[in-house]
Amino acid sequence: MKYSLVLVALLSALSLSAAQQSASTTIGTNNEIAVNDMQSSDQACQCNDIQNVTDKSEPVLKKNNTMLISVVGQGVAPMNTASPAQAYALAKRAAVADAYRLIAEKVKGVRIDGQDLIKNMMVKRSTVRTSVSAMVRNANVVETTFKEGLCEVEMEIVISHAQFK
């Protein structure tokens, strides 16, 4: 009887240790697989990005040609509005300004300044400033949507080569 109890205890201990080992190996392999999958997907993404960059050449405005630029500006209504109509009007105005800014950025470009302050081998402050200054005329609002306080304005502008002479 005593021997049988000892035998049962030994067998249960062995089976428990074997189960733990198998579980740890499966977890490890799963993690490895997941990591490998992520690495492979990252590599695939990078490759796709590179391919997209090489395939999609930026449109260039050639001589005697015109180009259509389309942007979507976003604006939000302030909290303290008198009526939904006022909220819509204000949000639309903000969205139009955003669309104008996007057109200016696309056509004229953006100036970017960066500044990092490092003290005692640590980054104390990191600042990036962007600025755009342009004159935009003859831009047309194509579509306006207003959903849940966010106004989106789709704006288009046709630019021609002659305008940049």
């Binding site: 604006g75 903000a94 300004a97 990036v128 400033r129 342009a134 005329r137």
Partner: protein
């Protein structure tokens, strides 16, 4: 003494009458208009539209116009207030200066966009039921 055409008095009277009628029917003025608004973090602030009558004659020729319907109103400010949306769209069509600045400091982003129409001269023709606003170039 009679003139060669025989009825100079009548023709002069007609001319003067037509001139008077034309001047009463059409009253052209020149106005200085400026427009500016600021958008900070996608919220609109400080929208200002300044309208004042020009004290000096403006140079330039009209190139883009807007016709607003009125009911025999000669006050441009009131007319524009009543047709605010159309007039602002017209100003956008004329062209606005865009100045945009953004700042990202310690991963916190803020931006400011200012749209401005610098003070420009507009020719305004008041008619009976409409007003014609033309930008001068």
């Amino acid at each position: 003494m009679r003139s060669r055409n025989g009825n100079s008095y009548f023709s002069r009277t007609v001319q003067v009458t037509l001139l008077l009628l034309y001047s009463f029917a059409l009253q052209a003025d020149e106005y200085l208009i400026s427009y500016r608004y600021l958008v900070k973090d996608t919220i609109l602030y400080n929208e200002t539209l300044q309208i004042s009558k020009a004290m000096q004659k403006c140079s330039g020729s009209p190139y883009e116009y807007l016709i607003l319907e009125t009911r025999d109103d000669k006050n441009l400010k009131e007319i524009i207030t009543q047709n605010n949306q159309e007039f602002i769209e017209y100003l956008h069509k004329l062209g606005l200066n865009v100045v945009h600045n953004s700042k990202t400091s310690n991963y916190q982003y803020s931006e400011t966009t200012i749209l401005t129409l610098k003070t420009s001269c507009f020719k305004v023709d008041f008619n009976d039921n409409s007003v014609k606003i033309s930008a001068l170039k």
